[in-house]
């Protein structure tokens, strides 16, 4: 079954762009939240990850900070 993937990002951050590119290239559908525009989602991201750096990727509850390609691959089983 497909995993639920959420990306917390800002439109300007290079690693956010790369993480979204990576997911798209691997045909992983995801929900993107712009934490610059959406204050509630920003709070949610800070709560989940305990920090304020973007991007944050949430894969079925596993929270990954930054574009950690290896960890994202392992969590998705790619």
């Amino acid at each position: 079954m497909a995993k639920t993937v959420k990306v917390y990002s800002t439109p300007t951050c290079p690693w956010c762009i790369r993480v979204k590119q990576f997911l798209s290239e691997n045909n992983i559908s995801f929900e993107n939240y712009d934490v610059g525009a959406d204050q509630a989602k920003a709070e949610e991201m800070i709560q989940k990850s305990g920090q304020m750096g973007v991007p944050v990727v949430d894969i079925d509850g596993t929270v990954i900070v930054g574009f950690d390609k290896e960890k994202i691959k392992a969590t998705l089983g790619l």
């Binding site: 800002t10 290079p14 790369r18 750096g53 973007v54």
Partner: protein, 301 residues
Amino acid sequence: MHDLIIVGAGPAGITAAVYAARKRLQVLVISKDIGGQAAWSGDIENYTGYQFITGPDLTAKFVEHMRQYNIALKENEAVTGIKKIQDVITITTDKGSYECRSLIIASGKRTRDLNVPGEKEYKNRGLTYCATCDGPLFAGKDVAVIGGGNSALDAALQLVNIASKVYIINNVSSLAGDAIMREKLETNPKVTVLNNSQIKAVLGEKFVKSIRVLTPEDEKEFLVQGVFVEIGLIPNSEFAAGLDKNKTGEIKVDSRNETSIPGIFASGDVTDVPEKQIIIAAGEGSKAALNVFRYLSQHKF
């Protein structure tokens, strides 16, 4: 024994690798990351052939180009030392050691740390080195930008549209960036510039709550939730002991990109070449590779 090892995989290292591979040199690239500072750049509008491209997209193009050739790549590996004994150059890393006939150092630059208490603890907990990335998270908050050069002013200009108050903590007597940027900031009511002032500590609980600043009058505490560090870059040249460097640590190279040790070349931002640009780094990388080829042909190892 490799013909050539390249340290770094930013624009200089990748371009050098492509040129070396086209000369049929047996090349190994060792790097901590791919793309270097270019991968962190926002919008690029001065790389010929692209009127507009983002840093990540240009990096992806570089990598795609490199993958057309048989180039060995060790990623996530940090070089810790180099030495040359007779005609053999040995590279040691955090994972092993490698031998080669020639070397190109293209390890670039990194952001300079503040070196004050609280910096490490609050990294990504209010303290950041990338205003472009993390700026939008500080909507309606009070923030401080540390630094007074162009990158600091650029960060401050991005932040005045987001934050409610922006302090600029500058350790010399006036801001150093471009006049047009300075004027925009100095006339903005949200901005307070503190000249001749030094950050002493970053304080908080789970996240940043304040900074302590030594001003010309006394040491004061400023309540801020964000700290943006923009105090310039330093060359990744520490591992290259024994090479001639300038006073900022940049590796000295001649017009053929050769360092003070024959067979060891360098290119891009880690060198003393004037002007640091993606296109210059790429050009310097190609020049280094061509001169490596010449060096190897002349020596017939």
